[in-house]
Amino acid sequence: MARKKGRLTQEVNAGSMADIAFLLLIFFLVTTTIASDKGILNILPPKQDPNQPPPEVLLNERNIFNILVNANDQLLVEGEYLDNTEKLSEDLKDFILNFGAPDEEAVALYNSLPASLRNKAKRDPASSDHPMSGGAVVSIKTNRGTSYERYLEVLDQVKRAYFEIYAERVGLTADQYRALTGRTPAERELQDRGKEGIPMAISIAEPDKIGGN
């Protein structure tokens, strides 16, 4: 008597499953904002003590790469008017790797660079002495009226010049170098090897008061 119902299929009707899933899918599609914590990292200088005047840093004019951006977003790079920032990173690389008057340590650094970077060294006495600390400084000065977008564009190009130098030293592309997280010792070693002796010397001056509020 208690025999199995052989004929009736025991499957649950799954035809509308796709519709339900679609509904949920569309809900999550609409509410999704893929979190992006990407950006350009910048370290601000330490706080100024009002009782102590800022330390006088004496640098030769040839060791500073001046980038001025005015309130109309026009660029003045090393005294020359520039229309766009396209060539900026190449100029910067030439400036950083100029090796105009290297001391002993800088000569050692120069010898450690790969040949492609060594070719950049023009030994121009009017440009930077060496890329080590106190050697080549990139100075960005804006107005209060300069747009943030333009400022970021310039900073982006300066960072690009440095990252491309670092990446070339360790034989990676700039994208690969930037993607290094330093989470594993091997990655950290690569990062340090790229940076070694060539610090990112970017000086961002206080904007002056013209053309803003």
Partner: protein, 153 residues
């Protein structure tokens, strides 16, 4: 007899039994990547583009400052304002806010706090430098200028 006679007998249906599985796979992907927005953004946010983006390691160390023109211009005016958490704050309150954010972190991590500045592209450098001055006062000197990727040419 024509060579192109219709093949009969074969069913022309595409099997759709795997469709729910595919949809579920997509669904799970979006469920996992979704971050429900926990706060309302009160200022305009058109994030500028840049190429040299870096990703930060620890997300717990990041605090966000939103800077831009208020969306509700009738109430807050048209000048760029700073939003921290879910309120608009004045520039001079930033030090207080940074200290509150630092208190949320453990002692060892306090110096590593990173401020992610999400700035609208139409903001001028004036307000930004004021904010940066306050951040220097508060000794939160690691800054991330939030930007979205641009295709390099």
């Amino acid at each position: 007899m024509s060579k192109f006679k219709k093949k009969t007998g074969t069913s022309q249906n595409i099997p759709t039994s795997a469709l729910p599985d595919i949809i579920f796979m997509l669904l799970f992907f979006f469920m996992v990547t979704t971050v429900l927005r926990e706060q309302e953004i009160l200022v305009e946010q058109k994030i500028p583009q840049a190429t040299q983006l870096q990703k930060l390691e620890k997300k717990t160390l990041i605090s966000y400052l939103y800077i831009g023109k208020p969306k509700n211009t009738g109430m807050f005016g048209t000048e760029p304002r700073v939003q921290a958490n879910d309120v608009l704050i004045n520039t001079k309150d930033i030090v207080l806010w940074v200290n509150q954010e630092k208190d949320k972190l453990s002692e060892a991590e306090r110096d590593m706090i990173t401020i992610s500045m999400k700035v609208d592209r139409d903001v001028k450098m004036g307000p930004i430098s004021d904010v940066q001055f306050e951040l220097r006062e508060a000794d939160a000197r690691r800054i991330l200028y939030a930007a979205v990727g641009k295709v390099q040419n």
